[in-house]
């Protein structure tokens, strides 16, 4: 019994020391990690909607549904949104911009872990550019990458579904 208490105590001391050093490390890196995440997000928004100067997140229950994009003169241009779709071997996360008339400006792949050389080519400009200046109804006609139909369709569908939702949400905002 005494042995047990001793073991427990030693383990508790080690865990306490570990927690203390992690807490210290966390307070050192927390701000930087948050800043990096914010910078990445802004970079993504800029990449899919280059004409917009300002983005305003629209939230529902603390979660960002989409971003409203405003031009340099403050006029409402359209929206940017993130969408997710199940690809071949991972969930593909994509960010897209859409003008208020419902044409896609550009898309960018944020996260994917598809097969190298096949599915992961959805992240390359050659595929992404196929989305530019397409209306929502035309998205189905986008050519999939040879050998990577599932990954391509996942991106196309994810963008299409979310674009339709966002279109409805911004519909009354002209």
């Amino acid at each position: 019994m005494r042995e047990m208490t001793r073991y427990g105590l030693i383990l508790a001391i080690i865990c306490a020391a570990a927690s203390a050093s992690l807490a210290g490390m966390n307070s050192l890196t927390r701000d930087r990690i948050a800043a990096q995440a914010k910078a990445e997000e802004e970079e993504g928004l800029k990449a899919v909607f280059p004409e917009a100067a300002d983005f305003k997140p629209v939230k529902s229950k603390e979660k960002v549904v989409y971003y409203q994009a405003y031009g340099r003169d403050g006029g409402f241009l359209g929206a940017a949104f993130k969408a997710r779709g199940k690809g071949y071997s991972s969930v593909i996360e994509v960010i897209a911009g859409m003008k208020k008339d419902g044409t896609i400006t550009a898309i960018k792949i944020l996260n994917q872990n598809e097969t190298p050389g096949l599915g992961n080519r959805v992240a390359e400009p050659e595929f992404r550019e196929r989305f530019s200046n397409k209306r929502i109804v035309d998205l189905n006609g986008i050519q999939a990458i040879t050998g990577a139909t599932i990954s391509s369709k996942a991106v196309i569908n994810a963008v299409k579904v979310k674009a339709n939702q966002v279109k409805e949400l911004i519909g009354d905002e002209k």
Binding site: R6, Y7, L11, A18, R32, T115, P116
Partner: protein, 197 residues
């Protein structure tokens, strides 16, 4: 001094963690798709090895043998989390490329293996050099494997295309290609050792 050199250099060739001890193959197979990933993984693992080896060696007399594994795991996990936070703060892109394999350094058998086989019996300074040597050996092995895989699988080195008109063999980018490359390298090194004898 000589002894410290020995502790350092044995991890690079004589007891190379990947090609001689054949430990930690799971992250090796998974992240060696590109040289940048290989270097990133190698540095993160080296940092964890250094930290855990030194701390384990320092606490070896206080920790009872029967609860040593949970104690070592807590120490290792702490260093892994520190490495992950640093990666997230300073190189989110690399962190994303390495993905789940950064937190999985906790269960990388090289780290626990060195704590068990070396650090818990050795002085802190020796453990430091052992960890450094093992880490460098692991990193060099990762660089070798990932250079071969990146070149054959994507036609690139360090993300630069080497020459035009080269049709890459995708199989080398996939886990099966990693197994092939590691197996052939292992065989080659064993052959080399036998010829030398």
């Amino acid at each position: 001094m000589n002894k410290l050199f020995h502790e350092f250099f044995k991890g690079i060739i004589k007891e190379n963690p990947t090609f001689v001890l054949v430990l930690g193959l799971c992250p090796t197979l998974a992240v060696s798709v590109s040289v940048v990933n290989g270097i990133g993984m190698g540095i993160a693992a080296t940092f964890v090895l250094l930290g855990s080896n030194v701390i384990v060696s320092l606490i070896k007399n206080t920790v009872p043998a029967r609860i040593r594994i949970p104690c070592f795991i807590v120490v290792i996990a702490t260093f892994v989390t520190i490495a992950e936070m640093t990666l997230k703060a300073y190189s989110p892109a690399l962190n994303r490329a390495l993905g789940i394999y950064v937190p999985l350094i906790v269960v990388n058998c090289i780290v626990l293996g060195r704590a068990e086989a070396f650090a818990q019996k050795a002085k802190a300074l020796n453990s430091f050099f052992d960890g450094l040597g093992m880490g460098v050996g692991f990193t060099l092995a990762l660089i070798l494997i990932s250079a071969i895989r990146e070149f054959l699988g994507a036609g690139k080195l360090l993300n630069h295309a080497i020459f035009k008109g080269f049709e890459p063999a995708f199989v080398f980018s996939m886990p099966s290609g990693a197994l092939l490359v590691i197996g052939l390298l292992l065989g080659f090194f064993n052959l080399f050792k036998r010829i030398k004898q």
